[in-house]
């Protein structure tokens, strides 16, 4: 009977449990997590904060998930290091493993800022606990300053908007959501959010904090009741690096999700993935990616050889009711259609005869058909280009490919 | 007034019996009368009859015509016809005995004849065909005359009445033959006409039959294409003609005839139990002679020169029992009719539907 140990309890960890159990029903699985909760969905914390998701529904898997999958859990326990086939715990204990998965995710990055220490109510927005902490401080009209106009900052802003907070978002960049949107899409989204009353101060950073206000580099001063710092995240790679494993931007793994240390695997936000749309290595901090990497890792740990391929950056997210779906890379020839009045924006990016990336805003229906074009690297010559441009539709594929996809006929 | 045979089709139930001595021993006619009498309840007094084979050894080379006449006029006309076509060697009334339950008898005459050679030659027919056509002619054309027996060294005796009474009436105890068949009739709606009683005969073929064939009109309309006239509209008549057609004209063996009129089902033909050549033959018969398949219930005993054949419809919807004792073979609707004349048998069995029993005289050593 194999002993599987998983450090972490989020999507990659759960993916690994499911991956292991699809192969090995008998081995023992131990999950070690420094959080105190049954596995919950990290992206749901903004929905929870907003009140849209209750305590019961924030869980990523049903309550009996661990029992059903015969998983032993060690909540509120921190793994300190990996040593000779053991995981050393913060409580001094040791857990032996045959196969170990590092699914430690990432942690908020808080850059050094002058006067930050003086701010009493300052938060990051990464865990349920952090959301709970914010929730306690926010009431109608609470003035919130959010540093960072990225995904986390704006998801937090949206939640707080529903709680009737008075929100100002400051970012050093001159546009919002630069990691997923181009300039134009950013503008539309910014306008959309601003119409709801949330203020942006872009191209500026904090020069100096005092207890309830921040003096910005552009000269403005923003008063706040609470501060949320959401400028970025850093992967939790220490366990691997300290044990001698290779770490660059994140933990380096092979396509089996194995680290450079034997019997030690890694998956999720703490790892580096290969983005096949841009042919570059990067951290793809996305829940689907984490789950699938975890699942692949789990299968390999249990002995079924599986590769993790075709990873691409992709995001489905909405702010203040306006949906965005994006995927791939935006480096290439762009085909853009826009109907600003309806807040509809569509950008398709082509390179090397392939669809490489897209941004859909407003009308996101059936976006996965585009995603599959990128992931499966279907040549544009295989599809009706005009139909592709018109909207995501199966009709754009040739009859043979349609039959393969829809009629179960393999050619 | 009720219509008689030939005016209307009359279904009938019946009893049949027959036996043969394979060694050719001549057996007195009282025996067949006794046998059929044991199935009294299967008849209703509206018809009975017998066929005896080997009964006219002294005239074995002549055709023996037994003819019913309604009147002397029809007799005169018929005899004129006979004289034109045949050399009449002997003619007489058939001897009968008055019987209280046998009434309304027609004139019953017997002629021993040979075709006139000149007429026969002119007809370009073989002798039996010539005789058959003459018989059909008389029956079809001469009002009030009816040839009811026309074979060599054999004879049919029939009447309206219970068969045992008919046997007494015709004084069958005075005849002896190597094979006999008998019939008791249970027609459902006839006044009873003497010609309509069984056996039905053409040349030496006689049929006694129990049943009602559902294929009648299909069979009739087919066989009538070949010069037969089914004047009586009875099953027995059409079956006799079918035997005559297939045996005498098509030269098919009685075994093969059974494969036509009681053909195996396709499921049986295709079941693999037959050899390929046999399968081909069965298929051929069912194709070529499809209109001679007889359906509906029947059990028949065919008498012919030198033998008897018994056959049931392929579903065996009518009873039929067979038995053997030494050189004797017995066939009857019911076992009692056999036990009555042969209480201890060597073997007794119930033939399967469509499975013919063909008994022929042993070759003379």
């Amino acid at each position: 009977m194999k002993k599987y140990v998983i450090i972490g309890n989020s999507a990659a960890a759960i993916g690994a449990v499911q991956g292991i159990r699809s192969v090995d029903k008998d081995g023992t699985i131990t999950i070690i997590t420094d959080e105190a909760y049954h596995t919950y969905s990290r992206p749901l914390i903004s929905y929870w904060l907003e009140g849209k998701v209750t305590d019961e529904k924030i869980y990523y898997r049903e309550p009996d998930f661990y029992e059903k999958n015969n998983v032993m859990t060690m909540f509120s326990t921190r793994a300190e290091k990996i040593e000779n086939g053991f995981v050393v715990l913060d409580n001094g204990g040791k857990v032996q493993y045959d196969k170990l998965l590092i699914a430690t995710g990432s942690k908020p990055f808080v850059p050094p800022m002058k006067g930050l220490d003086e701010v009493e109510d300052k938060f990051t927005f990464m865990t349920w606990d952090s959301a709970k902490a914010i929730r306690e401080k926010v009431t109608d009209g609470t003035k919130v300053l959010i540093i960072g106009a990225g995904l986390i900052g704006l998801k937090c802003a949206e939640a707080l908007y529903h709680l009737n907070a008075d929100i100002t978002v400051v970012d050093l960049a001159d546009r919002i959501l630069p990691s997923i949107l181009d300039v134009r899409a950013g503008e539309i989204m910014q306008k959309h959010i601003e119409q709801k009353g949330t203020k942006f101060i872009l191209g500026a950073s904090v020069e100096q904090f005092s207890k309830n206000s921040a003096k910005l580099t552009n000269g403005d001063t923003v008063d706040f009741d609470i501060l949320v710092v959401a400028v970025g995240v850093r992967p939790n790679t220490e366990l691997v690096s300290e044990a001698g494993g290779k770490v660059e931007k994140g933990i380096i793994t092979d396509l089996h999700q194995q680290t450079t240390i034997e019997n030690v695997y890694a998956a999720g936000d703490c790892t580096v993935s290969h983005d096949c749309s841009s042919d570059t290595d990067k951290i793809l901090a996305l829940l689907p990616n984490a789950f699938m990497q975890g699942e692949v890792a789990g299968k390999n740990m249990a002995g079924e050889e599986t590769l993790y391929l075709n990873a691409i950056p992709m995001n489905a997210i909405g702010f203040y009711g306006l949906h965005i779906i994006t995927a791939g890379s935006y480096n290439g020839d762009a085909d853009i259609t826009e109907d600003a009045d309806k807040e509809i924006y569509k950008k398709l990016v082509f390179r090397d005869g392939l669809l490489k990336g897209f941004i859909l805003m407003g009308d996101v229906a059936r976006a996965g058909i585009y995603t599959s074009m990128i992931r499966e690297q279907i040549p544009l010559t295989d599809v009706d280009f005009e139909l592709l441009r018109e909207k995501p539709q199966m009709m754009m594929f040739g009859k043979a490919r349609r039959e393969e996809k829809l009629a179960g006929i393999t050619h | 007034m009720l219509e008689k045979e030939g005016q209307v089709r009359i279904p009938a139930g019946c009893a049949i019996s027959g036996f043969i001595s394979r060694d050719g021993n001549r057996i007195c006619g009282d025996k067949i009368v006794k046998s059929i009498s044991y199935m009294h309840d299967r008849s209703n007094g509206l018809g009975g009859g017998f066929a005896g084979y080997g009964i006219y050894p002294e005239y074995k080379d002549q055709y023996a015509f037994h003819i019913f006449y309604d009147s002397n006029e029809s007799r005169v006309e018929t005899e004129r016809f006979l004289d034109r076509h045949f050399d009449v060697v002997n003619l007489s009334r058939i001897p009968t005995k008055k019987h209280p339950r046998i009434t309304n008898e027609p004139l019953i005459w017997r002629y021993f004849v040979t075709p006139l050679p000149t007429k026969l030659a002119a007809s370009q027919l073989d002798e039996r065909e010539f005789v058959a056509q003459c018989v059909i002619n008389i029956n079809d054309r001469i009002n009030g005359a009816y040839v009811f027996s026309s074979g060599k060294n054999m004879g049919v005796f029939k009447a309206v009445g219970y068969p045992e009474d008919v046997g007494e009436f015709y004084r069958l105890d005075e005849y002896a033959g190597y094979a006999w068949t008998a019939h008791g009739r249970y027609p459902t709606n006839t006044p009873g006409w003497w010609g309509g009683a069984h056996p039905f005969a053409l040349l030496d073929y006689t049929i006694v039959h129990n049943g009602e064939i559902s294929s009648y009109d299909a069979n009739r309309r087919y066989i009538e294409m070949y010069g037969y006239k089914c004047n009586l509209l009875t099953d027995t008549e059409v079956i006799t003609y079918i035997f005559d057609f297939l045996n005498r004209k098509q030269k098919l063996s009685f075994e093969d005839i059974a494969k036509i009129i009681a053909a195996p089902f396709w499921s049986e033909i295709d079941s693999g139990k037959f050899s390929e050549s046999e399968k081909q033959k069965l298929k051929y018969f069912r194709n070529v002679f499809s209109s001679l398949l007889i359906t509906g219930p029947f059990s028949i005993i065919l008498g012919f020169d030198g033998g008897l054949m018994a056959l049931n419809d392929r579903l065996k919807l009518r009873s039929m029992v067979a038995a053997e004792k030494d050189d004797m073979v017995y066939l009857a609707s019911e076992e009692c009719a056999i036990r009555a004349i042969c209480p201890v048998v060597d073997r007794i069995w119930s033939p399967r539907g469509g499975e013919p029993i063909i008994v022929k005289l042993n070759e003379k050593k």
Partner: protein, 501 residues
Amino acid sequence: MALNYFQPLFDVIRDKDRCIKCQACARQCANEVHRYDGDLDKMISNSQQCVDCQRCVCICPTSALKIVDNPNKFRNNSNWSQQTMTEVYKQAETGGVLLSAMGNPKEYPVYWDKILLNASQVTNPPIDPLREPMETKVFLGKKPKDVTFNEDGSVNTETTPTLELSTPIMFSAMSYGSISRNAHESLARAATELGIFYNTGEGGLHKDFYQYGANTIVQVASGRFGVFKDYLETGAAIEIKMGQGAKPGIGGHLPGAKILEDVSRTRMIPMGTDAISPAPHHDIYSIEDLRQLVLSLKEATEYKKPVIVKIAAVHNVAAIASGIARSGADIIAIDGYRGGTGAAPTRIRDNVGIPIELALASVDQRLRDEGIRNEVSVVVAGSIRSSSDVVKAIALGADACYIGTAALLALGCHLCRSCQTGKCNWGIATQRPDLVKRLNPNIGYERLVNLVHAWDHEIKEMMGGMGINSVEALRGNRLMLRGIGLNEKELEILGIQHAGQ
């Protein structure tokens, strides 16, 4: 024209409480009767174009539609019916010959409905087809006059070529062109599964269907469309079409609009040209010419295929049949005046020919009287509507029946009799690809198989009731029939007695 002399035949009735405006009716009507009006948010109907094909009624998911006769009527007149008057108006407007499709719909007597079947009681047991074997296999073709024997004395079992049918039903000739490819495929596959035959009609045989050749009768008609060596050799039998019940004495005319690529290739005529079948075969002006064609076709196919000669039932049909029986043909097909068509002049369809029942009875009797009934098998067509019609036809003397209209009904036809327009909403009598695809042959063939299985089962039930367990004992067994309400002459021709006799 601002003045409509005649009114639409039908009214489209839409139950607004039931209609959900799904527009299925609008999408399915090739005659563009239904339309969704977005401004009004309403379904609108144009009855003028409705042919009462019932497609919309059948497809409506809420049963919101009914097509009814337009109650508007001209003043009553027992002599000048509204239809007669309407036809005069139409001809006054167009100057053209009236065209119609499918069979003669007039109120002539239907003899099948005046003939009753027998059943066994007491003296003869009925047979239960669920318990006992019940046989419907038939062979079509010439029977040898006499049995011959091989040298070893065994029976020589060789015969001239025959068709073996699992049940005495075949699908009538309907050409590719007059009906769709999918209709043909349905018929071909059904015939193959059923062990019977379908008939190409006069339009040749599509290459894709050569695989069903063993169950295909290939037709040679006066236009000789698509006739060549491979075609003749592919079929199980060859049918010479001399006439058609719906239009005796008339040829055919398939408009160029229906001669699309596949039809053109199959018929071997240029795309878009009219396919005109002459009224006569121009090489057959007499019976001896027919004999030559029969023998030519046999020669061309090495005497391996039976030859069928199909004629329309006309007044002297018995004499004609007798001639055909002596022509070397193996099978005579007779098509009665109610037989269907893809298009025929209305006056011809409705006024020429005789009923198949009478034609069959006289042909069968005539051939028997002449002693040549075994020279040929007789197949009848021309509105065989049910298994009881089949049973009656066989008892009258037919070897088998052709069904055309009934087969089309199985495929969805609702007898709107508008085949000539080429806009068949059921995908049958059309070449428009969007309409053709409405007939999915996977469904079509199954429905045909179901129909014939059902009829076969019913035939067995009826035979069993009569105490007959094989169809050959039914053939020509006219005693199993009685007339009802027929006069002496009709009974005499049919060769049956009246009920009660």
